[in-house]
């Protein structure tokens, strides 16, 4: 059988390249086509055989680490889960995640995302930390079900690339961080929802979301950040009214 090829059009940007061609621009590569290959396999082929300077992030190759998110024909995708056969014989255009600054080629700057994630305190907050010898904090399956879906987030940032609010309002805290904040607010072991909601109530947090819903569509882990944010809006509104009746400290 004759060997089939597929064309990748890859976004290139090398701001400090000494020999011209810094970009931003697109570069085409003809890559061998295999129906069990994903886009990440094709990029690895380019890196190993055609152009060692191509830069991108990847790690686990199985949809767990969340490193290899890119725009594939305009859609935010984990490239380890985007099969060539779904695009063949057409060409595939690969770009860095939208709404992020680009450091080099397909690598985006995620500092802003990390700062936003940190700002919502996505961890269990409580004053009384028991010794592990005292046993675990127990939860019923019903209590677990309240937040389990939101805890599946792998911080791949596809939802940030899908969110048009991120594009027009870069201050927006964004889907993944807010979904994770909501995940801890719904955890019965947590005591920190009040301080977390203080951040979430800010204009550029939950109220920045206009419920476009594309974040939920592109999420590879079915987290449903759009749903989490709407529920968090309800929580934030309740907390706002509660603050009139119960001064700080009550819970």
């Amino acid at each position: 059988m004759a060997e089939a090829n597929i064309t990748l059009e890859v976004f290139r940007y090398h701001p400090d390249s000494p020999d011209g061609d810094r970009g931003p621009r697109f570069q085409s590569y003809d890559v061998p086509y295999h129906d069990d290959w994903v886009v990440l396999d094709a990029l690895n082929w380019v890196k190993d055989n055609a152009d060692g300077s191509l830069t991108y992030r990847w790690s686990c190759r199985m949809g767990v680490c969340g490193s290899c998110g890119m725009m594939v024909n305009g859609e935010p995708k984990l490239t380890c889960a985007a099969f060539l056969k779904d695009y063949y014989p057409g060409s595939i255009r690969i770009e860095p995640l939208t709404n992020f600054p680009v450091e080099r080629d397909l690598v985006v700057v995620m500092d802003d995302f990390m700062a936003k994630l940190k700002s919502v305190k996505p961890y269990i907050i409580r004053d009384d930390v028991n010794d592990t010898g005292d046993g675990e904090y127990r939860q019923t399956p019903a209590e677990l079900a309240q937040y389990k879906q939101f805890s599946m987030c792998i911080n791949c940032m596809l939802c940030y690339a899908a969110c048009p609010v991120m594009g027009s309002e870069p201050e927006f805290v964004g889907p993944a961080a807010l979904a994770l904040a909501h995940r801890y607010n719904r955890d019965t072991r947590d005591r920190g929802s009040r301080e977390r909601l203080e951040k979430m109530m800010e204009h550029e947090a939950v109220w920045g979301c206009t419920f476009v819903g594309e974040c939920t569509e592109v999420c590879p882990k079915n987290v449903d950040p759009a749903g989490a944010i709407q529920q968090a809006k309800t929580d934030a509104a309740k907390e706002y009214f509660k603050s009139f009746f119960m001064p700080k400290g009550g819970r």
């Binding site: 940007y13 701001p15 400090d16 000494p18 810094r22 970009g23 931003p24 305009g74 860095p96 939208t98 709404n99 992020f100 600054p101 680009v102 450091e103 700057v109 019923t140 399956p141 019903a142 677990l144 079900a145 309240q146 048009p164 594009g167 027009s168 206009t210 419920f211 476009v212 819903g213 594309e214 939920t216 569509e217 449903d224 759009a226 749903g227 709407q230 529920q231 809006k233 309800t234």
Partner: protein, 134 residues
């Protein structure tokens, strides 16, 4: 490494003004938001109608006659379609904002959309039709 020319770093990707044409869901979102303008316009129309009720009878009759014209009919059809689109898209989103759990099982989305949206909508609609016709 010698950098001969300063490049913007990092590179800021453009956010096009017509972003809402890039994906079907963006467009549906924009339409859903814009239908609110038509629904608002209809509320203003209702206020005008109420205002005319207080005017003398011939003026009100003239106003009603004007409503049978093609422009008024077209306005009503467009607003009706916009209101339908607005209601249906929002009802379908309700389960995301208001999930219900029975034990550890989440109630299916359509059940919530029907219970909180479509069913009350149908009851109120039938009630109004019954009230007007009966």
């Amino acid at each position: 490494m010698i950098v001969t020319e300063q490049m913007p770093r990092p590179y800021r990707q453009p956010h096009p003004w017509n972003w809402f044409l890039k994906r079907p869901r963006y467009l549906i979102f924009m339409l859903r938001e814009l239908t609110a303008v038509l629904v608002g316009a209809y509320l203003i129309f209702l206020l005008v109608l109420l205002g005319r009720l207080g005017a003398e009878q011939t003026a009100f009759v003239d106003f009603l006659r004007a409503l049978t014209g093609p422009a008024a009919m077209a306005f009503h059809v467009v607003v009706f379609l916009a209101a339908l689109f607005h209601s249906i898209t929002w009802f379908n989103l309700t389960p995301k904002a208001m999930p219900f759990f029975i034990g550890e099982k989440r109630v299916a989305d359509p059940v919530i959309a029907i219970a909180l949206g479509y069913l009350p909508w149908a009851v109120v609609t039938v009630g109004i039709i019954w009230g007007v016709a009966g």
